[in-house]
Amino acid sequence: MRDLTFIVLIKQVPDMDQVEFDYEEGRVDRSSAPLEPNPFDLNALEEAVKYKEELGGEVIAISMGPKQAESTLKDAIARGADEGILLQGREFAGSDTWATSLALGHAIEAVGDFDLIFSGEKTVDGDTGQVGPEVAEFLNIPHIAFVSGVKARKEDEVEVVSESWGATYVKSMELPGLITLTKDVNEPRLPSFKDKQKARKAKIANWGVEDIGIDQENLGITGSPTRVANMEVPPPEKRESMLLREDPGSAVNQLLEKLDLGRSK
């Protein structure tokens, strides 16, 4: 039998705690923040590596983004991926989720046979959570979204826990398929110093439009069905806070009076 092939989709995003939001100008200054792998994608990667550790096979990390996203793929290799592929070129820039999914889908087809694709539940910047299921639809494979636990890893099937319809479900899915992972699924490992050193020297394959055989009319701002017409940066919703610093007894008393919870006194 052929070895199992696992694909992880990883987006490079700004560290959200360090992005500066200019409320007056209504701008987001991404350059202020260092770049890192989307946090949920590390959960996806960890799950792929666990699968490989249990059943053998290969983990391929794919990212679409600018040249500097190579560092995110190297990070993935340090954390257990075997290979990194970067979809890169100005044609890809400005793609919405449909165009991004089309590009990632073509890249996966170019990789060849695969068994399970792992993506994050959403990214911390674009924040749509649409790319995973859109890629699955493009590839005509089943998917399960918002996976919070993996119960059984098999060669032709995966068993996972996810929530929908106000209930918690255990579902099994025939492979090939795709799952999107929440942060509850695992605790991503930290790469060792040795792994980091090794990853630094790893070669990241750079693929362009020709390599994946996609029509570039479907990419970028012009190829995307949606467009961000305008961005608002609303100031944080701070409140006029009434601070009660007295001893607990009188602070609580004051609070309850203010809340007017029908107390006497």
Partner: protein, 324 residues
């Protein structure tokens, strides 16, 4: 004529209330577009459609197939894609529930069309363009999005819009649609187990009392539970407590947990990082208990009790009980 279609998510028993909110908003949109408002009701066994009419649907497309009795996206996608291709609505609104956010992208890709996620505002501009407003960058900005393809799909947050008024006098048409689902696709995902009921419904709670890392040990969760009980509310938590296994993840409030808007939110020993705020900052009244006067949570609270939660929480319980 441009039709606005609302997907009425249901679990075979109950229509999700976000559907009624979408009908309310949908009516506003059709008024501006001079179009019709429809609802799509898909289920395993036939469900009554009147309620959707009472809430404003001019037409209800009802489809029934055993494959729709379980939350399997590919089956729902097939049913919806064939219906949409027949009816050609201009706008399709889907609740941004887990199921809606998982299903909608498959439909968008199958129809090669636009989709916006988790919208909090919807409007029609002067040129009759559909404008979709949605938070991005972890809730820090609002993006206004326009589409150049049709139909235009959007998933919309629960509890963002008011439910449509209910009027039993309203009349509408119920169209029974033939559902086409390939068995082969439906069988690729199987339900092994379903746990219902045990889940806490934090989203609908009137009072949420949440604990954070200010709690020193797992058994101290009891304190938070007692306070929640005294208020007749539900227990929430910040992420570190969930990560440590002190409480189940259904209780997590925040960007990667639940988004809640209760009448009263009480944060006990929570610092107020942006990812936590993303889940509770729209609560009516926010009360923070924290022993660090510079904790960011105080800037987002209506009332701040500065002090030790181990003294304040028991006192709060005592006085609440005394008051009753």
């Amino acid at each position: 004529m441009s039709e606005v279609m609302v997907f009425a998510e249901n679990n075979g028993e109950r229509i999700h209330p976000v559907s009624y909110e979408l009908l309310g908003k949908g009516r506003e949109l059709t008024d501006k577009l001079e179009g019709d408002l429809s609802a799509t009701l898909l289920s395993g066994e036939q469900l009554p459609a009147e309620e959707l009419v009472y809430r404003g649907a001019d037409r209800v497309y009802r489809g029934t197939d055993p494959a729709l009795s379980e939350p399997v996206e590919t089956s729902y996608k097939e049913a919806l894609v064939s219906l949409i291709s027949e009816v050609n609505p201009e706008v399709i609104l889907i609740g941004a529930t887990n199921f809606g956010r998982s299903l909608a992208p498959r439909i968008a890709m199958a129809l090669d069309t636009s989709l916006t996620a988790d919208c909090t505002g919807l409007d029609i501009d002067e040129e009759k363009n559909f404008v979709q407003i949605r938070p991005a960058f972890s809730g820090n900005i609002l993006a206004h999005i326009k589409s150049r393809t049709s139909p235009q799909l959007a998933t919309v947050r629960y509890k963002e819009f008011a439910e449509a008024d209910r009027n039993e006098e309203r009349e509408g048409e119920v169209v029974e649609v033939k559902v086409k689902i390939s068995r082969e696709g439906a069988e690729k995902v199987k339900i092994i187990e379903e746990k219902r009921g045990r889940r806490v419904n934090l989203e609908d709670a009137e009072v949420v009392v949440a604990g954070g890392r200010g709690l020193k040990k797992e058994s101290d969760m009891q304190l938070v539970e007692d306070l929640a009980d005294t208020f007749g509310g539900k227990v929430g938590a910040s992420r570190p407590l969930v990560d440590d296994g002190w409480i189940e993840r259904e209780h997590q409030v925040g960007y990667s947990g639940k988004r809640v808007k209760p009448g009263i939110y009480i944060a006990c020993g929570i610092s107020g990082q942006s990812q936590h705020l993303a889940g509770m900052k729209e609560s009516d009244t926010i009360i923070a208990i924290n022993n660090d006067p510079s904790a960011p949570i105080f800037e987002y609270a209506d009332y701040g009790l500065v002090g030790n939660l181990y003294e304040i929480v028991p006192e709060l319980i005592r006085q609440l009980k005394e008051g009753n």
